[in-house]
């Protein structure tokens, strides 16, 4: 957030507090002492004081502090209300004037020393310490704000309505396509088509507008970490600098909220396990200060968030040994770097024999992968020894409406989030080979595991000579989901599935199509787990899918 944004927020907020202060004072003037009102107004002033202090307006802060003191004493009945009421009413004008001065020029730091002294003198019984504050009549209106506060639920409801609109639009388009062949009046058909197209554009605009209204800059989450990094690094005798990049990249508020915890765990891991103590760093020829870079950037319909540290990197051998110890892999399994790295996302995974007080209890990174897959996103880790580790999180811009590929298998239609899909290919049964009891296909010089959707969900397998593979990509790994038919790409509105009967493994949610039918949305994460479990020949890793929380 830019400094000017902060000032604007501060002024908007302050305006509300002054209004509350004013109306409380008027009520006190009219109805006499009422402790509830005093308590309420103290709350407003306290917030205002804190904000003023945070923004660096020291004098204003001190002044508000004195006003607070008076109100406290009135509340405790050690000071009488009537004699000081005028002064209090006057003080609200003082505050107004100061805020207006700040509004005109944020660098102005109103000096209220005299006014503060005036109040102190009055408190000590010396009457008439301060002169009356004269206000310009327009100041009573306060600053005009450009923002409004809206309950998030209202925006949520709006987005839901737009979601329904998108569904109806799809339905109308389907009807139009069906009609085209039957319609004898061709010009009417063209008009219908043009009308639908215009409506589609308007709905698109509406959808985008509402999505934008729900967006917040990622600085909202990023801003929560400097303090944590400072405290944790200090307690471990490390020197760490935290840098932000692209913190004004915007994301849906719900995504922002869900992002906090994964980032917390990743950053904590970078501090605990990544960055070395200054002595070691200097010995390795690195700067004695370590750095963690938190960056965000938008790429088409996704937001990429990276946490990059310049620490010692992940020790592959340690991870591998721990994986064997945990029974996640076999000692003689051949392994590439990525498969080893992905082990750190397994539940309860830790390379430490004993838990340290800060991290290494084996919780954390599994939460990361679970939360991110809940958001229909992906998390990828990359690490080079002695150079550092980078976590890359890829998220859809919004949670509620996502593009999805519709695929048919075993007579049912499922939706696969496009965020996970690389491409789709048409294959024949002969192209699929069996190695070690698992199905694979040779794809661009590489062997790629194949998971059949009908098998995965226990559906009847339809005999087909040709069918389709949906290729999922995660870093440079590939996995194919075999389906009978592709039904095109479509924007779908995600609805959660009721979990009264437990979560269904492999299903992330549901969506209602234009014709009223329900399609289930596939939880891509569980397919990766399945593919990996097959690959490792060991028991399936416990990450993702089943959510016992």
């Amino acid at each position: 957030m830019e400094y000017s944004d902060l000032i604007r927020d501060f002024l908007d907020d302050a305006d509300g507090h002054i209004k509350a202060f004013d109306s409380s004072l008027m009520s006190l003037e009219k109805n006499g002492l009422n402790k509830d009102i005093i308590m309420g107004v103290l709350g407003s002033l306290h917030t205002l004081k804190g904000n003023a202090g945070m923004m660096g307006y020291e004098s204003l802060k001190n002044y508000i502090h004195q006003v607070e003191e008076i109100l406290k004493q009135i509340g405790e009945e050690t000071l009488e209300l009537d004699p000081v009421l005028d002064m209090l009413l006057n003080s609200s004008n003082v505050l107004r004037n100061s805020l207006q001065a700040i509004g005109n020029d944020p660098s102005a730091n109103p000096d209220l020393t005299e006014e503060t002294l005036g109040i102190q003198m009055q408190l000590e019984g010396a009457a008439g310490g301060c002169g009356k504050q004269v206000v310009d009549i327009s100041t009573y209106l306060g600053a005009r704000t450009k923002t409004i506060k809206v309950d998030f639920k209202r925006l949520d409801d709006l987005l839901n309505l737009v979601g329904e609109l998108v569904i109806f639009k799809t339905r109308l388009n389907q009807i139009e396509t069906q009609l085209r062949g039957e319609l004898t009046n061709k010009s009417l058909g063209r008009e219908l088509n043009a009308g639908l197209e215009l409506m589609g554009k308007t709905i698109g605009g509406l959808q985008e507008g509402i999505m934008r209204a729900r967006m917040l800059p990622v600085s909202h989450v990023f801003g929560k970490f400097p303090r944590m990094v400072r405290d944790l690094s200090k307690s471990q005798g490390k020197e760490i600098q935290l840098f932000f990049e692209g913190e004004d990249t915007e994301l849906d508020k719900t995504v922002i909220d869900e992002l906090e915890e994964p980032l917390l765990h990743i950053i904590r891991n970078a501090i605990d396990h990544g960055i070395e103590v200054p002595k070691d760093r200097v010995m390795k020829g690195k700067d004695h200060k370590g750095s963690i870079v938190l960056s965000a950037a938008q790429e088409s319909n996704f937001v990429i968030i990276r946490v990059k540290d310049d620490g010692k990197g992940i020790n592959f051998d340690e991870v591998r040994e721990a994986g064997v110890r945990k029974g996640l892999i076999q000692p003689d399994d051949p392994f590439d770097k990525d498969s080893i790295l992905s082990l750190i996302f397994a539940a309860g995974f830790t390379t430490k024999e004993e838990a340290s007080d800060i991290s290494g209890r084996g919780i954390g990174l599994d939460v990361v992968s679970r939360n991110i897959s809940k958001l229909n996103g992906q998390v990828i880790v990359d690490s080079s020894p002695q150079k550092g580790t980078t976590f890359t999180i890829k998220l859809p811009l919004s949670l509620a409406i996502i593009p999805a590929l519709m695929a048919e298998a075993g007579g049912e239609v499922y939706a696969i989030p496009m965020s996970a899909v690389d491409e789709s290919i048409k294959v024949r049964e002969e192209d699929i080979h069996v190695i070690n009891n698992r199905e694979v296909i040779q794809f661009r010089e590489k062997v790629m595991p194949v998971v059949r959707l009908d098998d995965f969900f226990g559906l009847d397998r339809k005999k087909r000579r040709r069918f389709y593979l949906i290729v999922l990509g995660k870093a440079d790994k590939r996995l194919a989901i075999a389906v009978d038919r592709l039904r095109g790409q479509q924007e779908i509105v995600i609805k959660p599935l009721d979990d009264t009967f437990g979560k269904s493994y492999g299903i992330a949610g549901a969506s209602i199509l234009g014709d009223g039918r329900i399609v289930l949305i596939i939880d891509v994460m569980s397919f990766w787990n399945k593919g990996q479990a097959l690959g490792h020949r060991g028991p399936g890793t416990a990450t993702g899918g089943v959510d016992n929380v």
């Binding site: 969900f457 226990g458 599935l497 009721d498 009264t500 437990g502 299903i507 039918r517 329900i518 016992n548």
Partner: protein, 174 residues
Amino acid sequence: MSDIRLPASGLAEDILVNYGEKPREFHLVTFNLGEEYGVPINQVQEIVRVGGITMVPNSPSYMEGVINLRGRVLPVLNLRKRLRISSGKISKASRIVVTEVGSKVIGLLVDAVSHVIKVPAGFVESAPEEVLEVDTDYITGVGKLNGRLIILLDLEKLLRREKIEVKEAETDSP
């Protein structure tokens, strides 16, 4: 429903004072599953025809699937399977009883909906101990009316137990 007026406070205690301690009669929606079963009418939101059920893979066997109830994705429980009664076929008479239990809205697939009736409290007995098992505490009683037997179900217990069983099933599923 019209004879039930909620106290102005809306507090559970007040409602219980008025109605909970000594209900004079049970107002039920009854349906057929071989035997006649009944659930309190105030837990029934509506009754809809069966159609367009989407099967949900990897879910418990008694989970029939989900339906689209005016834009809402509603889970449907196959009550026969849940109560471990030999399963019947979905027929023209089959219905989904949409119930509201706590904050949950859940559909119950039944063979047929029979009646909306009032059973005086005096005609309801607690179920005989011999027929109850450990996990059948969702049967609150048996209503006797003109020679008919109506088994009263406590939906809250029925659904709560689901959750526990599912949890257990989950641990060994994938």
